[in-house]
């Protein structure tokens, strides 16, 4: 934060006005309580108020670098104690040097100033305390406003992220094309249209209730993901087939929920959507050392030029696995000439 006394016009104007008021008050006080000529009182007041006017702007920096958040209270008090004594001393020394220089021929004034050091010093400390209080208030107000602004920014960021996540979960292209298939089937095969509607609804319900931290049995995961494949199968008229090789002991194994479906989506997107021939998707699951290895494999043409955004689904899985199991390298992607394989290793403890 920059010095508000020099950068903010309003604050600077109020600050100057206050000092002008102090200047006048000082003249009146000196003139009416002491036996001193009016012009001496004016000159004295002008010099001392002007010097503190300048020093006061500098006091901002002692506040700026002694923020309430970073220092403990005793340390703060000590810092300001030293700073206030210094400020006051500088004020009186420079002020009296100048005023004695100008008013040396006024003996009453010389007498007056010599007797006034102690209360001037105390006033200097008082000014300092008032000034730092104002400065802290300004900082507090600014921080408060910034916080409000940041909070609203953060809120919109979170909203955006949530929306993106939802968009990613429910691929609109897939939904609209599926609805188009249903629309077509209502004419040619109402029975199948009805089946597909139910499948799509179940699929949507599953995706909407998705919870990233949940775990479920592998067999349930497989069934949920197969639902997705069945919908795509109706759309693509048997353009692909699924082969399963799942060891019995894997079926009840706990895996992060919704871990399989993105893999199948990937196979469909890059294998089936981009292929002219029938594609085979193979799902296998075996025990391997201390891991359960789940593997999804599909035919793919490594010559087909991949679209942007490819790999986001896989990256998400990688990040989720890392988060859940606290281990890297649990996801392995193998790109062969005509095969695309993703292996997921689930620690078996």
């Amino acid at each position: 934060m920059t010095n508000p006394f020099t950068t903010n016009r309003k604050i600077f104007a109020s600050y100057t006005l206050i000092w002008l008021f102090i200047f006048i008050a000082s003249i009146i006080l000196i003139f009416f309580t002491q036996d001193i000529k009016i012009n001496s009182a004016v000159i004295d007041s002008a010099i001392f108020t002007f010097i503190y006017f300048i020093l006061g702007i500098g006091v901002w920096y002692t506040v700026r670098f002694n923020s309430l958040e970073t220092y403990k209270t005793p340390k703060l008090i000590l810092n300001h104690f030293v700073a206030s004594i210094l400020t006051s001393t500088i004020w009186i020394t420079t002020g009296s040097l100048i005023s004695l220089n100008i008013l040396s021929d006024d003996p009453n004034y010389v007498l007056f100033i010599n007797s006034s050091y102690i209360w001037r010093f105390l006033i200097g400390i008082l000014f300092y305390i008032v000034l730092i209080s104002i400065d802290y208030l300004i900082i507090y107000y600014n921080n408060f406003q910034e916080k409000v602004l940041k909070e609203s920014e953060l809120k919109s960021l979170v909203k955006e992220a949530e929306l993106n996540a939802l968009k990613y979960q429910i691929n609109p292209h897939f939904i609209f094309n599926s609805l188009n298939s249903i629309s077509s089937l209502t004419i040619s095969n109402p029975q199948l249209a009805q089946e597909m509607t139910i499948k799509l609804s179940t699929f949507l319900r599953n995706t909407l209730s998705r919870n990233d931290s949940q775990k479920s049995k592998l067999i349930d995961e497989i069934n949920a993901a197969k639902l997705y494949l069945e919908i795509e199968k109706i759309r693509f008229d048997d353009k692909f087939e699924l082969i399963e090789e799942i060891d019995l002991e894997c079926k009840n194994f706990e895996v992060p929920s919704m871990i399989l479906q993105p893999l199948f989506e990937n196979s469909i997107k890059h294998g089936v959507y981009e292929s002219l021939e029938k594609v085979t998707i193979k799902l296998s699951c075996h025990k391997e050392n201390n891991f359960i290895k789940i593997s999804v494999e599909n035919d793919f043409d490594n010559k087909s030029i991949s679209k942007k955004g490819a790999g986001i689904g896989l990256k998400n899985i990688y990040n989720r696995m890392k988060l859940i199991y606290g281990q890297e390298n649990l996801v392995e992607v193998i790109k062969e000439k005509s095969k695309f394989i993703v292996n997921i290793y689930i620690p078996n403890n």
Binding site: F176, S188, D237, Y273
Partner: protein
């Protein structure tokens, strides 16, 4: 009256079925063929010369727009797709209509009315529309691949494999790692649609892939030449040189 010869191009059978069904009650139209991908589409259009095609955008290997680039005299086009993001591009290349899947029969019939009107009024207006197809406006995204037709052979080239592009009158010659290909599009189009982080127009007649540049030499005052890794040498214009200088600093 002669019927409007129609071809349906979509990779999903059910999507083709509903178009067929909606068309069956309109006896002004006759479906002469169906294709499930862009390659078949090109073949059918060239052989059968239909008056109208229903075209999906997202299809394997080459998409609907890329397919159109490879056809010399495209028929009337109605796009059918689940994505609304291609609508602007579709109208830029003068598609008659853009149907968002799933579409109603009423909406579908509106498209057919438009087709009938254009088909009846005069055939010549068609030609005017189609001439614009080759000058389509820039898309929002950078090109990832480019399709070429060489006789009956179609090549899809990843832009990563381009070495440099040379202007040849109204055509552009692509020198790539997979061979040389000619494309009927302007240098300006490619200058605008290739990733500017990867490609640079170094000369009125050349666009070069940045990672193919080996060195730049001064030949004489204000005259530069660059050498590619395949040891091909290309001239560099003054503005091309200042662009290169900016990039490599």
């Amino acid at each position: 009256m002669e019927k409007i010869k129609t071809v349906i191009i979509d990779d999903e059978k059910l999507a083709r079925d509903i178009i067929k069904n909606f068309l069956s009650t309109n006896n002004e139209f006759e479906i002469i063929a169906e294709a499930s991908n862009g390659f078949e589409g090109i073949k059918l259009i060239n052989e059968l010369k239909p008056d109208l095609i229903f075209l999906d955008v997202q299809m394997p290997k080459i998409n609907g727009f890329e397919m159109l680039e490879l056809i010399e005299n495209p028929p009337l086009i109605i796009f059918t797709t689940a994505f609304d993001q291609y609508a602007i591009k579709a109208f830029e290349i003068n598609a008659i209509d853009y149907l968002l899947k799933p579409f109603s029969k009423e909406r579908f019939n509106e498209s057919l009315e438009r087709i009938k009107k254009i088909h009846l009024e005069n055939d010549k207006s068609k030609i005017e529309i189609f001439n614009k197809i080759s000058n389509n406006l820039p898309n929002q995204e950078n090109l990832e691949r480019i399709v070429f037709k060489n006789g009956s052979k179609i090549n899809v080239i990843d832009v990563e494999n381009i070495i440099f592009i040379e202007a040849q009158d109204d055509y552009t010659m692509f020198y790539t790692k997979e061979g040389n290909f000619l494309k009927q599009k302007t240098m300006k189009y490619f200058e605008e649609n290739l990733d500017p982080k990867k490609f640079i127009r170094t000369h009125r007649s050349y666009i070069v892939k940045l990672d193919q540049i080996k060195q730049i030499d001064i030949i004489e005052k204000e005259s530069y030449q660059l050498t590619l890794f395949n040891s091909k040498k290309l001239p560099v214009s003054k503005s091309g040189y200042s662009k290169l200088k900016e990039l490599f600093n």
